[in-house]
């Protein structure tokens, strides 16, 4: 790995200076500057809402900054629309998946740059361009089905292949690994290194610090819309160093294993199947324990949870919550039975983005009786729980205007308000910054300590290893390993998950 000790003496490939961007009520960028040199992997770090995505969108021409300048190859440029950036050789992998669900992988990879003349598409050439890029990234699904039917991870690879196939000189990646497991992330890093050695510069956002230390040549840290620091890899002493820069204070490191002995079973599942996806899974989560559930993407963990709560059609011999037997065929029944499920896709499954924070938090059980809604109480209840979660946004604000971490807090807050015995977190910290991540981890532990049974589905292996009292590994719809936290290592989990 090449490590730069200082800024190279060459002109930056891209240089942004004093960018300012205001949204109604928010100053997302407040004089940010960024330099990216050719052939480097440049990590962009910052808490949720620090302005990373906004900065990258400005560099890609998707947003026009209010002021400030952008220079590409030493020459000042106006990027009014994505086309301008694409023409200059800038590609972007967006934080929100941005594929056309109805088109297949090849069509998506070449979208907007289709080979051919006079409006006709030369599909042969398009394939020749797209297939190697997909293969290089380890894309393993069919390239002929609409990508909407692929798993999130495979979609992510398609998105990456878009940038790779474009042959861009600068690739901007906004949290490309957020929905990838270790295995797929590694594959991605391999590609990133290849790209770098071919002279391509990469700007890369991630909340997974080990990754950053592993990959980046240079790091820029943002806080509250401003550039805090720019360092070469060699100047970074470790994760703590980065966290300090990002958050402005020290944070506890990961590792929140329980101390008490787990109690009675909180959740018992006997032989639950979701046709085609989950096969006769049985498991038990005790009160006071956090059970981590690892697996490759597509292993069926989410489907297991959805089947359990009645959101997917499922069959089971028995489901017990806190010792009581339940028949669950609709999420309402799951909630009443005492199961809280925090979905993996916050935006489409967890939140009503157009609704107020208060409405979101109280969604399963709005305060009031006889079908009425007590708005006043709703606000107070929501403000109360959000305050305790450390949110600073007035609860009348729309959920959609918050950053990822704060959005996740809304979902967490919602389920704190229901009197649940079982909490299932599906990818609880996907796309969430270190600060908020720590808070959510502490919260999970606190729930366990309060006697709740916690099941944590996560593709973030350090998180699984650091948090779980017990680790279940799923593969192809079955539980293939039940590991004690003492015996579990990164290698053993990956070995079970990959089969």
């Amino acid at each position: 790995m090449s490590v730069t000790t200082d800024a190279p003496a060459v002109t930056p490939l891209l240089e942004a200076r004093d960018l300012v961007k205001t949204y109604p009520g928010v100053r997302a960028l407040d004089g940010v500057s960024l330099r990216v040199f050719p052939g480097e992997v440049h990590a962009l770090l910052g808490e949720n809402g620090a302005g990373k995505s906004t900065l990258l969108k400005a560099l890609f021409g998707a947003h026009r900054p209010d002021s400030g300048t952008i220079a590409f190859e030493g020459e000042e440029v106006q990027l009014a629309r994505p086309g301008d950036a694409i023409d200059r050789g800038i590609a972007m992998v967006h934080q929100e998946l941005s594929l056309i669900p109805q088109l297949n992988a090849i069509q998506n990879v070449v979208l907007g740059r289709e080979a051919g003349s006079a409006g006709w598409i030369d599909w042969r050439r398009a394939r020749r361009e797209a297939v190697p890029a997909l293969a290089k990234l380890g894309f393993s699904a069919s390239a002929a089905v609409p990508v909407g039917r692929l798993s999130v991870a495979q979609q992510q690879l398609v998105e990456l292949a878009r940038a790779v196939a474009a042959g861009a000189r600068l690739i901007i990646m906004d949290e490309p690994t957020a929905s990838l497991t270790t295995h797929e992330s590694d594959q991605l890093f391999e590609v990133i290194r290849q790209l770098r050695s071919s002279g391509c510069a990469i700007v890369y956002v991630s909340h997974r610090l080990p990754e950053v230390l592993d990959l980046a040549d240079r790091v820029t840290v943002l806080r509250d819309g401003s550039t805090i620091d720019e360092l070469a890899r060699s100047e970074i002493t470790g994760e703590d160093h980065l966290i300090r820069l990002m958050v402005g204070r020290e944070l506890d490191a990961l590792g929140l294993h329980g101390t008490a002995e787990p109690g009675e079973p909180g959740l018992e599942i006997e032989s639950l199947s979701v046709p085609g996806l989950v096969h006769q899974v049985s498991l038990t989560v005790r009160r006071g324990e956090i059970v981590g559930m690892a697996g490759m993407v597509g292993a069926g963990r989410t489907e297991l949870a959805l089947g359990l709560i009645g959101a997917l059609r499922s069959r089971s011999q028995q489901v017990r919550v806190a010792g009581r037997k339940h028949q669950i065929s609709h999420p309402r029944q799951a909630i009443d039975a005492g199961i809280a499920y925090l979905p993996e896709d916050r935006k489409s499954q967890g939140l009503g983005l157009h609704m107020s924070i208060a409405a979101n938090v109280t969604l399963p059980a709005p305060p009031g009786r006889w079908g009425m809604l007590d708005r006043n109480k709703q606000r107070h209840v929501a403000a109360d729980v959000m305050t305790r979660l450390g949110s600073k946004t007035p609860v009348r604000g729309k959920a959609g205007s918050l950053s990822g971490g704060n959005q996740q807090k809304i979902v967490v807050g919602r389920w704190l308000l229901t009197d649940s015995d079982v909490y299932i977190f599906d990818e609880p910290t996907r796309g969430i910054d270190v600060g908020a991540k720590g808070e959510i981890h502490r919260l999970m532990r606190r729930l366990a300590d309060d006697g709740k049974a916690v099941l944590m589905i996560s593709s973030d292996l350090p998180e699984v290893l650091g948090m779980s009292d017990r680790i279940l590994v799923m593969r192809r719809g079955r539980i293939v390993a039940d590991l004690d936290r003492h015996e579990a290592t990164e290698e053993s989990v990956v070995a079970h998950a990959a089969g």
Partner: protein, 336 residues
Amino acid sequence: MNATTQTAPDVDGALPDLLGGVSWADRIRSAARGAGLVAVIIILFVAFTIARPSFGSGDNMVAILLQASVVGVMAIGQTYVLLTGGIDLSIGSIVAVSAISAGMFAHSMPAPVAILGGIAVGALAGLANGLLITLTGITPFVVTLGTMSIYSGVALIIAGGRAVYDIPQLFKDLLAGRMVGVPIPIVLVIAFAVGSALVMKFTRFGEYLIAVGGSAQTARLAGINVKGITTGAYVLSGAGAGLAGAILVARLGAADPTIGADLLLTAIAATVMGGTKLSGGEGSMFGALFGAVLIATLTAGLTALNVQAFYQQVAVGAAIIIALLVDRIARRERTA
């Protein structure tokens, strides 16, 4: 089942007050939007009055509101449906079925029962829409495109293609009379709007409508009975159309099986002019009412100016687009 447990971790230090802040800006904003439409109505009214002074009489204002009331009731019902992200193309036909039913009931039952019967028929037709949509998963547009045709045929079949007339006086008095000097349809449409606005603000059903319209998946995972809520919206839309049908019977003293067909697009236009989004999750009950008043004012004004039929079509079409354009510009300016 849903006691608020205090399991959240305590955070030390002063708790910032999350209750305040946005509220006033938001209130002014949404008030301003309603006000924008009202302003357009007033401008039109003043302009027409300048051109034809008698247009500005109190009587005429009442006549315009009366005219707006039928479309208004339908538009408010439609708003429920649009909030869920659906659409109800069958309301025109439901007006006809309900009108015929109410008219026929009126010949064999006491007037109040006949009126409620007509509304119930509308609600039932809405229920059928809702069930078809939620149970089959076919898009609302298609289902109600189908039932639009079905209900219209049913209205003609049960009426034998004939109008029902000789509506009892009590029926007419109840729905077309006056209450403390105000025509009852106006009272009804205002009551429906106020009631609906209260439902949106102070009931779970209203809250859930918005949740379903914004993201059905989120709503379902939060334990909301999405199918039930959606069906409820269609029932209300049907009931609104049923009430519109009953009002028309009372006003015209007859129930015609083809009545209402021309009201569908007007009602939808009123709803969207009132700021309700076709994409769901956002809408305004009063907006629907104002939209109906705007269209009635425009039609009345063009009639007062004796504008020829062909040109009236052009003017009404242009008004729909311009109203939404003004709304958009106003909003963009407020946000920018």
